[in-house]
């Protein structure tokens, strides 16, 4: 055959192709699509963006007639899990109602794809049981009687109480407790404007174990694995199906797999993720770090680590100087010590701890060793959130990256802040001047986040009270351990003066509120966010889509309540309005942070708020928008997302420019300090903030081989293999990546005890956030107890049998599901199910109706009825066929605060037996006095700041902290701050 086409033809074709490429670049630069769509040419089916104003589809309900429906496509982002995947709302041009949600192809993270929860947003919007108007309780708290009130009544009452607390110098009595994240830092700034250290999160029942491990290594508390570019992906989680950033990560993991990448999954349970793995190992819960350290030990023993990376970027000099001051201070000496440190972590040791065969571990270690710098790793909740010392799991996992030099490399793992962009807002209120010990008690100086789940216990212990307590899209009664203790304090008006539940839908905590205020779902609110989902930086915009649709038709909508269902409000407008009512004349210095800059004296509008951000704080966006003849705000309203950069690369290797190097001092280990002020950055992504030197110079970089490089935001500027922070704050034995035996270690279990894993998600649900989405509820609505056939045989139970699971403080009764998908000796029960209501008010698709019985500290719950069909505006509610909505196991768990990270350690040592006569499905019994004893036992494990602080402060200042107060507030009462580990020391 001839060399096809001949030289002349080939040249001509190449020229033609280049002309097409040039034309395409030009067209796409204008924001238009070059190829028509929905188009086979893109191998995807998304409406082309130039047709989003008037998109025509055939009405499926009119089939077989071909009836055209015209839509306006308005982007927003999903509000179910944290990933903030892009959605396109299909707004019917005729009725101006949202007809469906599909993926937004312009969103760089999710790239037009969604999991089941995204499209199910429509169910939440049209949920017949949702809260549409502000409600105030009519009887006693928790009695279930409500009256509708106006927003004005609610706002005035709440604002007056907040104002009084501030004026009476009781700012710590105002607390905001957040579940599902909204906009990075928005409410923190509201609280800062009020001068209140009242921010509380759910993080310590979620990810603070993971965060602690990452932060101690790199000064940043989240990983950003570049899955798509990886050669080997190692997950300590069920990440592909349900983990954090599930959809954005899953699609990239599968891309890597298609390219031939190997997937290793460490998960005691056969998750959907595990079924996709090349290697799945199911270790005994709590032994994960031992497994990872054995792999690390193998890399060290066989010298298959990246010596140059370790030499240049680990703080091995600091380690030698502090721990081996008498020995040679050379890298070669460190390598010898390193080998000794991990010599005991053999495959045989790991096999004995984990129950996984040593030969399998060796094989996996070889796969990891072959990854080179393309090893993407991730853990988040899972083992980190399950175990005492779980924070060492991410520390051990990241050790593998640090050994291989797979840090901020293609296919490696990045520090999250490098793949995240939080634009500077219009106002940055100052740090609050006081420290709140209800959220940051002195026993937990190293906790990564607020000790949120201890709030009832701290209140019961008389450590404070709350005048106004907001729960915002958060359900601690149901989500947190020891929910009955939450009910006890929420029903005590001396401890909680006013409880305001901000929520789109009913939840178990809102039942115990004074006000229930309806907030918006994904298509009914504003938020701006950015998440680390690949090696790039993007922002995405959640917005009230009906407001945008009406504005496209020429209407002006200043108040989102006008277009949302009922009187559902969006939060930004709510907080601005509330802040004005707290400080109507501006005398408290609060109002100025909520005033218009364009029209002084008037309220800041959300349009001005976001217009400022998009015009001033997002590099490249104004130019990109201008190329399409749009303002930056119009651009974001139109497309919903903007990618600032792709291919960030290793920022730690960037040279610090000379203009930042004024009157420089370099300490003995290479940390570089400068007098030059930090250049203003539009990106205010949270990072560690290492302290200045004794003369006030700020840390600017680190000297590596004679060059000043940017490094990491740790005290040493390097990756901290050795954590001087841990050593100085009372935990020297854990200063290196290591293995802490869990509270559910086999040696700690009684002969008749098993481990219960309760942290796993169901792929289509996300905590209580996704509930009453009918499509999702039909798929997943119950939570049987996973039990291995060997254990089932021993206990004499079969699938469907009722079993009683006894914890330290009570028991729950559930049905068994006998499966080989769980390790023998281990039980599993998803925490996603077991929703309940006491009376008629509440969700009817996923909540059982229960009877609660309380006698002093003894509580009992019994299900009176399950779900069932009911009449509503949605005919589908008559088709509900399921009755079983699961069992609320979390009620029977006591708190297990890890003494270092503060993470609640979820795994439970339990006894399981056949249900007793009289036991009924869903029965719960709990002794909250016993729960309080367990709390005290774990509290005794701590090393409090007032005894262990090396410098008279409450907490290492360099560690990240939401809503950081002033530095003065860090000082322990009655203690002077003293410099510790001073630079150059």
């Amino acid at each position: 055959m001839r060399e096809g086409g001949g030289r002349l033809a080939r040249t001509e074709l190449a020229k033609l192709s280049e002309r097409v490429s040039a034309a395409r670049r030009e067209v796409e630069a204008r924001g238009e699509t070059f190829y028509p769509g929905p188009s086979r040419v893109h191998l995807a089916s998304y409406p082309p963006k130039e047709r989003w104003d008037d998109w025509v589809e055939l009405d499926s309900r009119a089939w077989p007639e071909r009836v055209e429906k015209r839509y306006m496509l308005v982007p927003t982002t999903c509000f179910n899990c944290e990933s903030a995947c892009g959605l396109l709302a299909y707004v019917d041009r005729e009725t101006l109602a949202v007809r469906k949600f599909e993926g937004n192809p312009e969103h760089p993270g999710s790239r037009g794809r969604n999991c089941a929860k995204g499209p199910a947003t429509l169910n939440q919007v049209t949920d017949p049981d949702r809260i549409l108007y502000p409600l105030r309780r009519a009887g006693k708290r928790g009695e279930g009687k409500w009256v509708r009130v106006s927003w004005d009544v609610a706002l005035d009452d709440i604002a007056a109480r907040i104002r009084r607390a501030i004026l009476e110098e009781r700012p710590n009595e105002v607390m905001y407790h957040v579940g599902r994240p909204g906009e990075d830092g928005f409410t923190e700034r509201v609280l800062a404007a009020w001068g209140v250290d009242g921010h509380n999160t759910h993080t310590n029942v979620c990810s603070s174990g993971g965060r602690t491990g990452y932060q101690l290594w790199m000064g940043l508390d989240r990983p950003s694995p570049d899955h798509a570019g990886a050669r080997v992906i190692l997950l300590v989680s069920s990440h592909l199906e349900a983990g954090h950033y599930f959809n954005p990560h899953a699609q990239r993991i599968l891309e890597a797999k298609q390219r031939g990448a190997r997937l290793i999954v460490v998960d005691t349970r056969l998750s959907n993720t595990a079924t996709h793995a090349d290697y799945w190992i199911a270790p005994h819960p709590g032994s994960e770090a031992a497994v990872l350290l054995a792999i690390a030990g193998h890399l060290i023993r066989t010298r298959r680590y990246d010596r140059e990376f370790v030499r240049r970027w680990w703080n091995w000099q600091e380690y030698l100087a502090r721990e081996h001051p008498g020995g040679p201070q050379t890298f070669e000496a460190f390598e010898q010590v390193l080998a000794q440190l991990y010599a005991a972590y053999t495959f045989e040791f790991a096999a004995a701890e984990s129950g996984v065969d040593a030969a399998v571990l060796r094989e996996i270690a070889e796969v990891v060793a072959g990854a080179g710098t393309r090893l993407a790793t991730h853990t988040w909740r899972s083992a980190s959130a399950g175990n005492l010392g779980g924070w060492q799991v991410p520390r051990a996992l990241f050790l593998l990256n640090a050994l291989l030099g797979a840090v901020a490399t293609e296919g490696g793992t990045y520090p999250n802040a490098w793949n995240k962009f939080v634009p500077r807002p219009i106002y940055m209120p100052p740090h609050p001047p006081r420290w709140n010990e209800l959220t940051w008690p002195p026993e937990y100086p190293l906790a990564t986040n607020e000790m949120s789940f201890l709030l009832p216990h701290l209140l019961k212990d008389g450590r404070g009270r709350l005048e106004v307590y907001f729960t915002r899209v958060y359900n601690p009664v149901w989500t947190n351990p020891d929910g009955f203790s939450w009910i006890e304090v929420l029903t005590d008006e001396h401890l909680v003066g006013l409880h305001v539940a901000l929520t789109p839908t009913w939840n178990e905590t809102a039942f115990f509120a004074d006000y229930v205020l309806p907030m918006g779902h994904a298509s009914e609110r504003h938020d701006l966010h950015s998440y680390e989902q690949y090696d790039g930086q993007w922002i995405a915009f959640r917005q009230p889509v009906l407001r945008v649709a009406r504005e496209r038709l020429g209407e002006q909508v200043a108040d989102t309540r006008r277009v949302n269902p009922g009187e559902v409000w969006e939060e930004n407008e709510f907080w601005i309005e509330l802040s004005w009512r707290v400080d109507p004349e501006g005398r408290l210095g609060i109002r100025k942070y909520f005033e218009s800059q364009r029209r002084p004296g008037e309220k800041l509008s959300v349009d001005e708020y976001y217009a400022y951000i998009f015009e001033h704080s997002v590099p490249g966006l104004p130019e990109r928008a201008a190329a399409e003849g749009l303002t930056p705000l119009e651009y974001m309203r139109r497309y919903g997302a903007y990618e600032l950069r792709r291919g960030i690369g290793p920022l730690h290797e960037e040279a610090v420019p000379p203009e930042e190097l004024e009157d420089v001092r370099v300490d003995a280990r290479g940390r570089v300090y400068t007098r030059s002020p930090a250049p203003s950055s539009p990106n205010i992504v949270p990072t560690g903030s290492p302290e200045p030197d004794a003369e006030g110079r700020r840390p600017v970089g680190v000297e590596v081989d004679g060059r000043v490089l940017r490094g990491f935001p740790t005290p040493s500027g390097r990756l901290e293999f050795y954590s001087a922070t841990l050593a100085e704050w009372g935990w020297p034995e854990h200063a290196l990546p290591g293995y802490i035996r869990s509270h559910v270690h086999r040696g700690a279990l009684g002969p008749d005890q098993m481990v219960l894993i309760s942290t796993f998600r169901l792929p289509v649900q996300v905590h209580t956030r996704s509930a009453n989405a009918k499509w999702l509820d039909e798929i997943a609505h119950t939570n049987p107890l996973w039990i291995h056939p060997d254990d089932a045989r021993r206990l004499g139970v079969g699938t469907g049998d009722l079993v009683r699971v006894e914890t330290e403080i009570g028991y729950f009764v559930v049905r068994a599901w006998v499966t080989e998908g769980i390790r023998p000796g281990v039980l599993a029960c998803s925490h996603h199910m077991g929703r309940w209501k006491v009376g008629e008010v509440g969700q009817r698709q996923m909540m059982a109706t229960v009877a609660l019985d309380r006698s002093e500290g003894r509580w009992a719950m019994r299900q009176r009825s399950g779900a069932g069909p009911y009449t509503s505006a949605d005919p589908d509610t008559l088709r509900i066929w399921w009755t079983d909505v699961g069992v609320h196991q979390n009620l029977t768990f006591p708190v297990h605060p890890d003494p270092v990270s503060g993470q609640h350690c979820w795994h439970q040592a339990v006894r399981v037996r056949r249900a007793a006569p009289g036991d009924r499905y869903g029965d719960i019994a709990v002794d909250t006095q016993q729960a309080h004893s367990v709390y005290r036992a774990w509290l005794a494990l701590t090393r409090p700041a007032d005894r262990y602080s090396p410098d008279g402060t409450r907490r290492p200042y360099w560690l990240m902290r939401p809503l950081r107060p002033t530095k003065d507030a860090y000082r322990l009462p009655g203690r002077r701050t003293e410099p510790v580990g001073a630079p150059g020391g």
Binding site: R10, E18, R25, L43
Partner: protein
């Protein structure tokens, strides 16, 4: 998908194939713009597009590679299987020309972006398999047929696409074997053994007869033979011609098959055994038709 200028590895460039793929879609502003960039004469006319792609020459591999000569069936399943083998979800019409060309372009992009040489080679193998199994196996005769009835705009499009495919075939090398579609296709049945219905069915199935008979061809046949043209689907038209004058019609068909032999042979330099297969089928058809014509009753 990036531009070929930056990568520049595929031959022909992926972007060109993507642009040519877009032109097999119903014309709109985007097609007019692409046509202009490619220097095609005039603008695409929606009415002509409908005539070409919806009435005369359906742009689906299954029509030309399937034993039934119709949309769908086993031939389409084979194409869908190819998508799945690549780890992709087959689109609703996996064998549509645009989809296949876009897939080819996507594979070329992936190959160019693949840093690992071994994996890039695998991508190249996939691309080569796609070319020979599902593009070159039918597109050369298809484009020949289209050129004969199209306006200058689509004639030039067909010529460019043929040239691009020829370049691709040259760059990727000859097929490792005869494409499965072609290997699996039965020959044209002899009506004397299998009946007239099977014969007509086979005659209208390109992969069996080696010839592509479009509506325009049958209209031309009627015109050239001075026979009446009855309006209907192709088989009905053909039957009516045969009924009017079987000898003349069979002789005309034999000549038509002969002219397809020449067309197929012209592609042997580019597609080697594939062109040989098509030419062989057309030769056999011509021979059989000639025999049948010689013994057909005079009218």
């Amino acid at each position: 998908m990036g531009d070929a200028g930056r990568r520049g590895a595929a031959d022909p460039p992926a972007e060109l194939l993507r642009a040519l793929a877009a032109l097999a879609e119903p014309p709109g502003a985007a097609q007019a713009r692409i046509g202009d960039v490619l220097g095609l004469p005039g603008t695409p006319d929606p009415a002509e597009y409908t005539n070409l792609f919806a009435f005369q020459l359906y742009p689906y591999a299954s029509v030309y590679c399937g034993a039934e000569g119709m949309l769908g069936g086993e031939a389409r399943d084979r194409v869908a299987g190819f998508w799945r083998a690549l780890g992709r979800i087959p689109p609703p019409e996996p064998d549509h020309l645009s989809a296949l060309l876009a897939l080819y372009a996507a594979l070329a992009d992936q190959e160019a972006e693949e840093p690992d040489r071994a994996r890039a080679l695998l991508r190249r193998q996939s691309r080569k398999a796609l070319l020979w199994e599902h593009l070159a196996s039918w597109l050369f005769p298809y484009l020949d047929a289209l050129e004969r009835i199209a306006s200058p705009f689509y004639r030039r499009w067909a010529a460019l696409l043929r040239e691009a495919l020829a370049v691709a075939a040259g760059a990727l090398g000859p097929p490792d074997g005869m494409p499965l579609h072609l290997r699996a296709a039965p020959g044209l049945p002899d009506p004397r053994a299998h009946g007239a219905a099977a014969f007509l069915h086979g005659l209208l199935a390109p992969v069996r007869s080696g010839i592509i008979l479009v509506r325009a061809d049958l209209a031309r046949a009627a015109r050239e033979m001075g026979l009446g043209l009855r309006i209907g689907e192709r088989r009905f038209v053909l039957e009516s011609l045969l009924a009017q004058d079987p000898g003349w019609t069979l002789a005309w068909l034999a000549r038509e098959a002969g002219s397809w032999v020449v067309r197929h042979r012209a592609h042997e330099a580019a597609t080697g055994p594939v062109a040989g297969f098509w030419a062989g089928r057309a030769e056999a058809a011509s021979r059989l038709l000639g025999e049948l014509a010689s013994c057909a009753p005079a009218v």
